[in-house]
Assembly symmetry: C2
Homo-oligomer: 240 residues x 2
């Protein structure tokens, strides 16, 4: 079985960061977006390798946010894809707006936190030791730039993160894959690229940082790869 470009980059990330181990039970967050769908597809193929042996589970969090979900037809089609890939797939209804306390405002941050919390809870209750998220190279770099220019920190979403509070690890196997490759691949496959278009703002700031990332890197993949590599190349004596 020939590996696609995306699968090769996943293989490299898995190797570089030691993301997979024998006996892993990995929970996938299945949003229906191009990123998590591509990740599920690739890991279902990877699961056929002889070593390490691991299991996959998928959970779709269904929120109560107007415009934030998918139609019944779309939902059925997504369930069908996970079935085709032989990944157990469940949905969980979560009252994301319903959990807001009086006076609190809905935000992308709140929504993401609630979804993450539910993934963690489900993983812990169902014996998963890892959660695989669909963040890709551009996500990681845009977050780096946001943290540098807004929080004054050199920090990002790491490709692999152990939770201190739980016996659980987050892995991001798409860490080395550019968004363009995923977009192109998902389009080629004819997948729905369900994007969150909820009424509370489609995370305009993150989109703006994606644009700034592209400007910073002169629109080149090489620039992005260098930017990524710089994070493992901090020259202490040459900082301000």
């Amino acid at each position: 079985m020939a590996l696609t470009h995306i699968e090769k980059l996943i293989a490299k990330a898995v190797r570089d960061y030691g993301m997979l181990a024998e006996g892993d039970r990995i929970l996938l967050g299945a949003s229906g977006g191009k990123d998590s769908t591509t990740l599920a597809w690739a890991l279902s193929r990877r699961r056929r390798w002889n070593s390490p042996r691991f299991e996959l589970e998928a959970l779709r969090i269904v929120g109560d946010v107007p415009g934030g979900g998918m139609s019944d037809v779309q939902a059925e089609r997504l369930a069908g894809m996970y079935a085709e890939w032989d990944i157990p797939y469940r949905t969980l209804e979560v009252p994301i707006i319903g959990r807001l306390k009086a006076g609190e405002k809905m935000s992308c941050y709140w929504c993401a936190t609630q979804r993450r919390t539910e993934l963690i809870r489900w993983a812990l209750e169902n014996g998963c030791n890892k959660i695989a998220l669909g963040h890709h190279l551009d996500d990681i770099l845009a977050t780096l730039l946001m943290n540098m220019t807004k929080k004054g920190e050199i920090a990002t979403m790491p490709p692999r993160l152990e939770y201190e509070k739980y016996p659980l690890e987050v892995i991001r196997p798409l860490a080395l894959v550019e968004e363009d490759s995923i977009r192109g691949f998902a389009r080629e496959q004819g997948w729905l690229a369900t994007t969150c278009t909820c009424d509370f703002g489609a995370d305009g700031e993150r989109k703006e940082y994606q644009r700034r990332l592209n400007v910073l890197c002169g629109g080149t993949e090489e620039g992005k790869r260098n930017l990524y590599r710089s994070m493992s190349n901090v020259k202490d004596g040459y900082l301000a």
Copy 2:
């Protein structure tokens, strides 16, 4: 004597990085540009403070690069300004092109390296223990972005750097000052803002990175301040 905005930021940099010490003999590179001229002006005023006591010297490197110098009138005016500020001022002719070996091409990098080498040599021969350079906040941040996206390193020109090979330190007292402030101040003072416009390319890449810096920071000073601050805030567990 009330401090200007620029002087306050220099005072902060001096304090934060311990740039000045009693008895320092500081060599200024006097290019005639807005940055080194502003720096010379500010340090000549700073020299009147009671402590620490330090001395200033200025050296202008005169190259052999067509279009890279200034007119006799400009040169005389610059000498007059340093005299007014009571800073001993000398010029040194350096065959920058003349030193190229057969087949080597002239570049901004070569020119800057030759000038730096001469400043170092002169400082060592004349008992200076520090060289003060006119790099400002935007220079430092643009260099950071260049290093990240081109060299894959998180590194920049540090505000203070001890040479390992020489008993000499480089300080950049304008490290916290935005270029806009310097440009505005130099204009207000009616100074020539002699810019290097030599025939070998006006460092277009650096200008392009200045533009990218502004895009990245959304054109805000706050963004630049955060970006600068991030360099002292590296979150090791949250990198890729």
